[in-house]
């Protein structure tokens, strides 16, 4: 187990339906994507939970700030969260 997993830090894509988490950071070099996520509320401390998955498990809908955001797992893996 890595150090980060011990801290309860996983990626958004690893989140299970019953779990609640807080955004830690976005890990990507794609600044356009990063800015887009930030303006959608994906910033340090925002609470997020998994709302539901598409028929084939990808993409998934997350709930944050009271709204629903659809993301592919490939993108969700770039977002680090701390499970509460």
């Amino acid at each position: 187990m890595t150090h980060q997993e011990l801290d309860g830090i996983v990626t958004l894509a690893d989140l299970l339906p019953s779990q609640e988490a807080e955004i830690v950071r976005i890990e990507t070099d794609d600044t356009v994507f990063k800015r887009r996520m930030q303006s959608l509320g994906v910033v340090l401390g925002t609470r997020v939970s998994l709302h539901r998955s598409a028929p084939l498990g990808d993409p998934r809908i997350y709930t944050l700030m009271g709204y629903s955001l659809g993301l592919r797992n490939a993108e969700a893996r770039q977002i680090r969260v701390r499970v509460k």
Binding site: R25, I26, D30, V32, F33, G57, D58, G66, Y67, S68
Partner: protein, 702 residues
């Protein structure tokens, strides 16, 4: 005070700016319940209490410093600072996310009016908002509206005029933590030394944007190497200290501001999640992991089945009306060329096309329901994985569904796609989406050859159109150099009930558009086709039909005589058509289509359909009216073609060359006529191949 006062409606995508624009100005613009329906600025002047206002609808943005191309129009507009007053439209049920943009708009220093839109949903959810506190924290008047029901419009106009006549003396200022404030101060100081005296708020706004990394503004300062150096230094030291870049820190600070504000002003009465649950319940059903995709298909099937079967009833009335009119005109006009032009050209072509009006209106009714309820966003969510396999993107579904109406807005709607190459591919597959212009062809052919399962055949043609788009995406992904897809980022709005007004408007609009086309391009087309099939008149017939007919006429009456006369006349008409300009041109290209089983009539229909695909039906109508074998187009068609060939022809019509308007818009949106030309060549080759395959398989099966 400036006149007119420029008032910009700025809000998140799907916050209702366009609905509000319509409510304020009375000008109906496209509205739906999914993000990014509006892609261009819209402007309209109104006068309220003697003050001239220029209302501008700005395409939705999440942030004024966005670098996503779909937000460029909105961001550039804010950056240019053209708005005298900013009306910040907030989705009342989504304040947590919307106030982020508000915090950026505050920093522009412009006088603002804050609108809490969709206030009915907020009330239904049992939420109370403290207006007075919100107004003082945001430094602007706060107005509640429900744009779709035109509630609060007067109050909003009053507030706009109030702000225009008495602008707030001191713009608001947001405070950040000391590290950020220090960096902003130092950059601002540097700017002032460089550019001399600057308006304090403008300088602070610029400093914040530069620190945030706004590329366009940084480019504007590129000549000041020292300033750029300084900005980089500040950015690096912030990143080093906080383990997050400056833009991220500013974003987090802005959300902290909005969270704090909402804790103060928002109060819940009773059941907190009542409103949210309806959407959750519906999503349990529509986004169900096993049921979701079959449901999507089922919904589409019902849509096309109803479009066909329900449309048949009023179609019969229109048909009867057209027949009545034709009989009347037939009697009223003296025999001669003008009579023939009107009856066999105009009445046949226009009358043969206008009968599809009910089908088109019904199709647009369904499209209005799908886009107005928020189901389209779900559909793209459900389909993303499948489309990803074909190198496409879930959001490509939105232009694709728009393509069911017309390919031209579909090509424009590809602006929701960020990646340039992905957008180009989406643009090139958009013409394969079955636009409503092709619907008459399918309804005619399906009704003629597969009357029992016509609705399903029409549905199958739409599925084939999606299949063709997917297959082409795979091919194009290989042909077009480069790589890279696009992130699927899509907000799913709550389900909403579209208003009767917006649905009716959608249907009325489509009806008007169709009638305009029929009385325009179809009318002209029918006249041109009639002349092309009527001339030249000096045709070398294989026999002297005039004499032969006279000889028959002299025979005693009886069924024998009638039959012989009919054969003679039909033979004459056939030879006349084949000798005409239309016939000759069509016969010349027919070898190309012979492998597909098409005759010269079909080639003629295909060639004329280049202009607009409705002309395909009009061409058949004019040709068959001339041949006079049967009064009914359906019957005539059944006599002229085998069912397998009919399928091949429908496939060909679906796929071959986009119409002229679509070719033009591809050229414009891709900024290259080469791609427009490519689109024509590619779709012709694709249509030919697919039509051959499908036709051959059908021949074996039928």
């Amino acid at each position: 005070m400036k006149s007119p006062v420029t008032v910009a409606l700025v809000g998140n995508p799907n916050a209702g700016s366009s609905s509000l624009f319509s409510a304020l100005t009375g000008v109906q613009v496209a509205i739906a319940n999914y993000p990014r329906v509006t892609t261009e600025l819209a402007s309209q002047d109104v006068t309220h209490k003697g003050v001239a206002l220029r209302i501008i609808d700005v395409p939705g943005i999440f942030s004024t410093s966005s670098r996503s191309p779909e937000e460029l129009v909105g961001c550039d507009f804010i950056r240019r600072g053209e708005a005298d007053i900013i009306v910040n439209v907030l989705d009342g049920g989504n304040l947590d996310r919307s106030l982020f943009l508000s915090s950026q708009l505050i920093e522009t220093g412009r006088p603002r009016v804050t609108v809490l839109n969709m206030i009915d949903e907020v009330r239904k959810a049992g939420i109370r908002l403290d207006h007075a506190m919100l107004a003082s924290a945001l430094g602007s008047p706060v107005v509640e509206t429900c744009a779709l029901r035109k509630e609060g419009v007067e109050a909003l106009l009053d507030a706009i005029v109030q702000v225009a006549t008495n602008p707030p003396p001191q713009p608001m200022r947001l405070h950040y933590d000391q590290h950020l404030e220090g960096a902003i101060d130092r950059i601002q100081g540097h700017m002032v030394t460089l550019h001399g005296a600057m308006d304090g708020h403008r300088a602070r706004w610029l400093a914040i944007k530069l620190l945030e990394g706004d590329e366009q503004l940084l480019r504007g300062e590129a000549e000041h190497a020292e300033l750029i150096e300084e900005i980089k230094r500040e950015q690096n030291s912030l990143t080093h200290e906080h383990d997050e870049d400056s833009a991220g820190l500013l974003a987090a600070a802005r959300f902290a501001f909005s969270n704090g504000l909402l804790r103060e002003v928002r109060h819940h009465d009773g059941d907190v999640s009542a409103g949210f649950n309806a959407t959750r319940l519906l999503d349990d059903f529509f986004l169900n992991r096993t049921l979701g995709l079959p449901l999507l298909l089922g919904i589409l099937w019902v849509m096309f089945q109803t479009t066909f079967s329900l449309g048949a009833i009023p179609t019969d009335w229109i048909k009867a009306g057209v027949e009545l009119a034709t009989t009347y005109v037939d009697g009223a006009l003296p025999p001669g060329m003008f009579h023939d032009l009107v009856i066999d050209g105009v009445m046949a072509g226009v009358g043969g096309t206008i009968v599809f009006l009910p089908n088109i209106v019904i199709l647009f009714f369904f499209m209005a329901i799908l886009s107005g309820t928020g189901y389209i966003a779900r559909a793209s969510f459900l389909m993303d994985r499948v489309m990803h396999h074909f190198g496409l993107h879930g959001t490509t579904l939105i232009p694709m569904v728009a393509g069911f109406g017309c390919n031209v807005p579909a090509v424009m709607a590809t602006r929701v796609i960020t990646n340039k190459r992905a957008r180009l591919i989406a643009m090139l597959i958009a013409p394969f989406m079955n636009c409503s212009a092709r619907l008459p062809v399918y309804i005619l052919f399906a009704g003629a050859f597969f009357a029992d399962i016509a609705g399903t055949v029409v549905f199958a043609m739409y599925m084939a159109s999606i299949g063709a788009a997917m297959l082409s995406a795979v091919v194009l992904n290989r042909i077009i150099p480069g790589s890279g897809g696009d992130a699927f980022v899509m907000e799913l709005p709550p389900y909403r009930l579209p208003t009767l007004h917006s649905v009716l408007h959608h249907m009325w609009d489509s009806a008007q558009g169709f009638v305009a086309k029929v009385t325009g391009v179809i009318l002209v087309g029918s006249v041109v086709i009639w002349f092309l099939q009527e001339f030249p008149r000096d045709i070398a017939y294989t026999q002297d039909f005039g004499a032969a007919i006279e000889e028959q006429e002299a025979q005693p009456d009886g069924p024998e005589k009638d039959k012989a006369l009919k054969v003679l006349k039909s033979k004459q008409a056939q030879e006349k058509l084949e000798g005409s300009y239309l016939g000759r041109a069509s016969i010349a290209v027919t070898p190309l289509f012979e492998p597909l089983g098409f005759t010269w009539r079909d080639s003629a229909a295909i060639m004329t359909g280049f202009v607009a695909k409705e002309v395909v039906v009009a061409t058949y109508a004019v040709i068959f009216a001339q041949e006079e074998e049967s009064d009914d187009l359906t019957e005539a068609l059944r006599g002229a073609m085998a069912p397998a060939t009919a399928i091949a022809f429908m496939i060909f019509t679906l796929l071959y060359a986009p119409c002229l308007s679509t070719i033009a818009i591809i050229g414009k949106e891709s900024n290259s006529w080469r791609w427009a030309g490519f689109s024509v060549a590619y779709s012709m080759a694709f249509a030919w191949t697919m039509s051959l395959i499908v036709g051959s398989v059908s021949k074996l099966l039928l």
